[in-house]
Symmetry: C2
Subunit: 300 residues, 2 copies
């Protein structure tokens, strides 16, 4: 049996797991990452001390690291590192590789979640998998034959910024007016619900209201669902995947928006057949995906 080390490095926590080739976690350790405070040496040393707890590191095939932000997979660095102080252009992956003398691979957490779903989860066995996370934000990942497409600077899958509606307000400086994340993410739903009710309202409350039969709540959800469907159609015209896998917190209430999303996707996609759209299956896609990045030997 071969083993891979997967690391899920977040701004708050870091998890290190030893995973076997069937995707089973056989050992796992976690700690606070100090990502938001730094300094970077403390972040790196925390990772290293967790790796050192793993039994027989040098007997593993390699180490995969999932990070919160885009990765330049050609140079193995983060060109931007909002949630990891000092990690911009920091060659921590190479430092770890030199220390343990086994291959180290790096990619962002959304891509790793997608890879895990493609290799071990809902997309298993499908050649072209498109993974979406529908949560406070919206992200995506394209996985072809087990290989993640990261892009020239790690921006493949940064679908949050795709415009799905014209004549919208610009919500923040990082997103286009009418971007799908500004119109259909959990954050967007909470914002719109708060506007609707004239008081701070969570996405959870909005979904609860819709479940109680509140038509205005459902209309707001329907609008977001249509935007998601348009996003699926757009992605479909570009990569025509075998399957869409959707994870993230908002997808837990999928029964309330799924039918409208699918209807719009089918309406706007003109291919031979639309892809299957299914929910994500895995509970810990971060470390699993990072481990699978080793198994698949990095990106395309």
């Amino acid at each position: 049996m071969k083993y891979y080390i997967g690391i899920d490095l977040g701004g708050t926590k870091v998890r290190v797991a030893k995973v076997n080739e069937e995707g089973k976690i056989v050992e796992e350790y976690s700690d606070f990452s100090h990502g938001l405070e730094g300094p970077r040496e403390l972040i790196l040393n925390t990772i290293i001390s967790l790796i050192d707890k793993i039994d027989n590191v040098k007997g593993c095939e390699g180490i995969g690291i999932a990070v919160p932000g885009p990765v330049d997979v050609y140079n193995m660095v983060m060109p931007m590192a909002v949630n990891l102080v000092g990690f911009k252009d920091y060659p921590f992956a190479k430092i770890i590789e030199e220390k343990y003398q086994i291959p180290v691979y790096l990619d962002n957490d959304a891509n790793m979640a997608g890879l895990a779903e493609a290799v071990l989860g809902a997309g298993k066995g499908k050649p072209i998998v498109y993974y979406l996370t529908h949560s406070t934000g919206i992200g995506g990942a394209l996985i072809i034959n087990g290989k993640v497409v990261s892009g020239q600077m790690g921006y493949a899958g940064e679908i949050a910024n795709i415009i799905v509606k014209d004549n919208c307000k610009k919500i923040n400086e990082n997103l286009n007016a009418g971007a799908v994340e500004a119109e259909s993410s959990g954050t967007a739903l909470a914002r719109k619900a708060s506007e609707l009710y004239g008081e701070t309202t969570s996405t959870k409350t909005l979904f609860e209201n819709a479940r109680k039969g509140n038509l205005k709540a459902q209309a707001l959800i329907d609008e977001a669902a249509k935007n998601m469907g348009r996003l699926l159609a757009t992605i479909g015209q570009i990569v025509d995947p075998h399957i869409f896998v959707i994870g993230g917190g908002v997808s837990k209430d999928s029964d309330l928006y799924w039918p409208k999303m699918i209807e719009t996707y089918h309406e706007l996609f003109n291919g031979i057949k639309p892809a299957l759209v299914t929910k994500a299956e895995l509970k810990e896609p971060g470390v699993l995906g990072a481990a699978m990045l080793v198994k698949e030997r990095g990106n395309v």
Copy 2:
């Protein structure tokens, strides 16, 4: 030196070329394809009689065929064949493979043009190339490390149908209202120019008028250019290519719309850096791309 046979099979004509590993055509034959009239046996026999003219077919590495329409590359058939009578689900590629006993690969003509540009033309040396053809229609192709991404049913790259503008008229039943092909293709420009001038006006005349300083003509072109820029940004957020390569008839007048297209692309893309955007270089991308499909051993 290795040799590959490339075939560009269109509704009207078919071209067969022997290409060396440097992308040089060393032998070439063409004929009417009878694609629009059929029957399919006549189309197939025409192809075969052209292949038979090639010197030492069995000494070639294989045969690549570019066809006008989506290809199911997993089953090596066309799931739809508007311009080739009787070719829907027809295993002609397998028939040719059995006859010559060398590998046969199949994909659509836009993908093959993109592959040629990626391997031999403007995208040479770049890991992720996105090719667009801006002509009477609009098509695309994603090529990663020399491999074309065709999609589950050959619809990857069928970007014509991506919505780039809301509240537009639906122009024809095959395209979404506001689809980029309905708003920015050569056909769309001619339609809009005809509306503008109140008489049938070609794209050529529209561009000539803009060159003479006609502001209304330039405004119409600017609008189309913005839509193209939005398309580039959308593709960029999904695959973050190293380079966009743009070919096709309309791109010959690129000086009149390129700056506005690039400006919009940069404005709407929020990645670390936008991709280089450049013009296509090759004159005969169809046969060359088909030959390169053999060199790269088919699709991903």
